[in-house]
C-alpha cells in the first residue's frame, strides 16, 4: 500500500524512516520525497500485511500518515465551486464544468494534496490512515 508521510519541523531532522525499518524489520520502498522549508513529505510503498505495524510506529514518532489507495474526496454539498483548487492541481484533475461547477476527476488525481490546502472552505479531504 502507498502511504504519504508528512514530517513537521520538529521531527524532520530525525532518522525516522531508518528507525521504523529497524524496529519493524519491514522493507519500506521510498517512491518520492520532497522537502520544502521546514517540512517534508515522503511517499512509501509498504507491504499490505505489515502496513498496520509500520503505521503505528510512524504515528508514535509524530509522522502524519495518509493512505494513497483511497482517492481524494470533495464534499459536493458544501463545495462553493469557487475553483481555488483548479489551478493548484498539477495534473488537471480538477476542472470547471460548463455551468461553472467545479468537478474532480478521481481517476486523474495523484493525491499530491495541493487542493486540500488550497480549498478555502475545507471540503476536500485526503483520507487519514
Amino acid at each position: 500500500m502507498k502511504l504519504l508521510l508528512r514530517f513537521n519541523s520538529e521531527i524532520i531532522k530525525k532518522p525516522i524512516i531508518a528507525e521504523a525499518v529497524l524496529e519493524t524489520g519491514v522493507k519500506l520502498e521510498i517512491e518520492r520525497a520532497r522537502v520544502e522549508g521546514p517540512q517534508g513529505e515522503i511517499v512509501v510503498n509498504v507491504p499490505d500485511d505489515s502496513c498496520r505495524e509500520v503505521v503505528n510506529v510512524l504515528k508514535r514518532k509524530k509522522v502524519e500518515v495518509t493512505r494513497l489507495d483511497v482517492p481524494i474526496t470533495k464534499d459536493e454539498e458544501n463545495c462553493i465551486h469557487c475553483g481555488a483548487c483548479v489551478s493548484a492541481c498539477p495534473v488537471g484533475a480538477i476542472r470547471y464544468e460548463y455551468d461553472w461547477r467545479v468537478r474532480m476527476d478521481e481517476k486523474l488525481c495523484v493525491q499530491c494534496g495541493n487542493c486540500v490546502n488550497a480549498c478555502p472552505v475545507r471540503v476536500i479531504k485526503l483520507p487519514e490512515y
Binding site: 522549508g37 483548479v86 489551478s87 461553472w100 478555502p120 472552505v121
Partner: protein
C-alpha cells in the same frame, strides 16, 4: 426611453415586470441593440460571491443578572470588540480563535450561528456599581440575541487584481496558494455579473439602495472603505439582518497560512431608467480589464506583469511572458449566478422592490497610502560586508577563510562573482570532523534564500523566521554578492533602536 423607479415598482406590484440577469442582458443587447433591450427590460440583476474579509456582525446579547459591562468578550474563543456598550460587540470575520488559530475565526462563528448552533460566550469585566458582574460564561444561539446586524465595511469590489508568483517558492496569500515560477494565476470577482461594473458611474447604486445580502434584503450604507473609483476599484459598505440570512450565501473560509475570511453573496438590482444605464449593464467580461501582479514582492506596490480581461482569466489559461499559465477563480461564478437568479426571482414574484439612492457615492478619487512617520530601514542600511569564496576551493580553505574573517557564513560564488551557494561554519566543521576535506561543492547549500538591498528589513526578519536560518546574503540583479544580513546583526539593530 425613460422610466422611473416608481413605475418599475408598480410593475413589480402587478407582476408585469421584466427582469434579466446581467449575463442575460449582455447577450440581449448584442442581439437587439441598446434601445430595444432598454425598452423591454425593467431591471437587471447582478451578483457576486467572493471572499470579503472586511465583514462582520454587531451583536446585542441582552443583559445578564446581575448585569455585566463587558470589557472583553469571546464567542467560541474568537474575540469580538466590545468597546461600545455593556453587551454590544462587533465580531469581525478575520479575527482568529485564541485556541484554534487559523482553522477557526469570526466567520466560522457567524456560519455556526446561521446553522442554528450554540456558541460559547465568555466575557470579563472590571465591575462597576451598576454592572457588578466580573465574568460570565454561557451558550447562546442566534435566536437568543436581541440583534445580529451584519455591517460589512468593504464588500463588492468592482474588480480585483489577478495574482501570480514570480519567485521560486510557493507562497500563501489572500489570493490563495500561488505556485512557484508563475505556476498559476488566481483572480477574484464576478466580471460580467459584478454589481459595480454594471453601473460604473454609480448612477443607480448609492446610499440607501436595497440589495441582496447573504440571502436576505440588505442596504448600502455608503461607499466602502478603500473605495477607489478612479481606477475602477469601487467598493461598498453594506448592512443586513443576520437573523434573516441563509448559510448558503454566507460561508466561512480559511486561506491556508493566511487566515480566515468570509464568502458573502451580494447582489444589486439595477433599474433600467434610460438607454445609458442599459448600455452600462451590457458590459461583457471582455471589457473588464485588470492587472496581473507579482505577489512574491511583499510591498505595497507590486510589479504588474500585464493587463488582462476577465474573459481571458475565465478561459482557464493566460499567456505570461510566452508561457501558458493556468488560471483559477477564488470567488465562485456558479454562486454569483445563483445570487443574480435568486434576486431576479424575488423581484418577479413581488417580494423585492427597488429603492432610489438617497445620496450618491463618490465617482472620483483614489486610496491614499498610509502616512508613515518613521523611516523604514532598508537592507542596504543594515547589511555588512562579507567575504566570499570561489566555487572549486576546498573545505579546508573555507575553514581558513571563516576563521580569518570571523564570520559564520561564507557565500560561494562563481568566476563572475555570482552567488551559487553558501556554507556555514557548522557545515565546514561537520565536514572536517568527518574527515571529508575536499571540494566545497558537495557540502554547500545551493538553494540560498537571499534579499536585495532595496528590500525592507521586516522582510529579512520574516525570511529568517520562515526558513529557520540565521543569515541572508544580499545580492544585486546579476546575483553578485553585496553583503550579508544576519539574525544576530538584526537583533543588535533592534535592541539599539529600543534604547534610543
Amino acid at each position: 426611453m425613460r422610466r422611473t423607479i416608481e413605475e418599475i415598482n408598480e410593475k413589480i406590484r402587478d407582476g408585469s415586470v421584466n427582469v434579466v440577469t446581467a449575463e442575460e442582458m449582455t447577450a440581449l443587447v448584442q442581439e437587439l441593440g441598446v434601445s430595444e433591450a432598454a425598452r423591454q427590460v425593467d431591471v437587471v440583476t447582478t451578483g457576486t460571491f467572493g471572499a470579503m474579509c472586511s465583514s462582520g456582525v454587531f451583536f446585542n446579547f441582552g443583559h445578564s443578572d446581575p448585569p455585566i459591562k463587558m470589557q472583553r468578550v469571546w464567542l467560541n474563543d474568537v474575540e469580538a470588540y466590545t468597546g461600545i456598550a455593556a453587551v454590544d460587540a462587533y465580531l469581525g470575520a478575520t479575527q482568529l480563535s485564541d485556541t484554534k488559530g487559523m482553522d477557526y475565526g469570526g466567520s466560522h462563528v457567524i456560519e455556526d450561528l446561521l446553522k442554528g448552533e450554540e456558541v460559547w460566550l465568555k466575557a470579563i469585566a472590571y465591575g462597576t456599581d451598576c454592572y457588578p458582574r466580573k465574568r460570565i460564561d454561557t451558550s447562546i444561539t442566534l435566536d437568543d440575541m436581541n440583534q445580529a446586524i451584519m455591517v460589512n465595511p468593504r464588500n463588492a469590489y468592482q474588480k480585483y487584481n489577478a495574482a501570480t508568483n514570480c519567485s521560486s517558492k510557493t507562497i500563501y496569500t489572500y489570493m490563495g496558494t500561488l505556485l512557484p515560477n508563475n505556476g498559476n494565476v488566481t483572480y477574484s470577482g464576478a466580471g460580467v455579473l459584478s454589481p459595480l461594473s454594471n453601473d460604473p458611474n454609480y448612477e443607480t447604486i448609492g446610499v440607501g439602495t436595497r440589495i441582496f445580502l447573504g440571502g436576505a434584503q440588505g442596504y448600502i450604507i455608503s461607499e466602502g472603505t478603500q473605495h477607489s473609483p478612479s481606477g475602477g476599484f469601487g467598493t461598498l459598505m453594506v448592512t443586513g439582518n443576520l437573523k434573516k440570512m441563509k448559510r448558503e450565501y454566507i460561508r466561512a473560509a480559511t486561506f491556508y497560512k493566511y487566515g480566515t475570511t468570509m464568502y458573502v453573496g451580494l447582489g444589486i438590482p439595477i433599474p433600467i431608467l434610460n438607454d445609458d444605464i442599459a448600455r452600462a449593464t451590457a458590459v461583457s467580461d471582455a471589457e473588464i480589464v485588470t492587472g496581473v501582479y507579482d505577489y512574491s514582492v511583499p510591498r505595497r506596490s507590486k510589479p504588474e506583469l500585464r493587463k488582462v480581461t476577465y474573459e481571458e482569466l475565465k478561459s482557464g489559461m493566460i499567456d505570461l511572458n510566452g508561457k501558458e499559465v493556468k488560471t483559477s477563480s477564488l470567488s465562485s461564478f456558479y454562486m454569483a449566478r445563483q445570487v443574480a437568479a435568486e434576486l431576479k426571482s424575488w423581484i418577479k414574484s413581488g417580494k423585492f422592490f427597488l429603492s432610489s439612492p438617497v445620496e450618491r457615492i463618490p465617482v472620483e478619487g483614489s486610496t491614499k497610502p498610509m502616512k508613515q512617520t518613521q523611516e523604514m530601514p532598508l537592507i542596504k542600511d543594515v547589511m555588512v560586508p562579507v567575504a566570499t569564496i570561489k566555487v572549486g576551493f576546498s573545505v579546508y580553505e573555507a575553514a581558513k577563510k571563516i576563521i580569518e574573517d570571523r564570520f559564520n557564513h561564507l557565500p560561494v560564488v562563481d568566476e563572475d562573482k555570482r552567488l551559487v551557494g553558501i556554507v556555514t561554519s557548522w557545515d565546514v566543521s561537520k565536514a572536517l570532523a568527518l574527515s571529508k576535506d575536499g571540494d566545497l561543492a558537495p557540502i554547500m547549500t545551493r538553494n540560498v534564500i537571499t534579499v536585495s538591498p532595496e528590500d525592507p528589513v521586516d522582510l529579512a526578519v520574516r525570511l529568517l523566521e520562515k526558513h529557520n536560518i540565521s543569515a541572508l546574503p544580499v545580492i544585486d540583479k546579476d546575483r553578485k554578492v553585496l553583503g550579508i544580513v544576519t539574525g544576530e546583526g538584526l537583533s543588535k539593530l533592534i535592541s539599539r533602536g529600543l534604547r534610543q
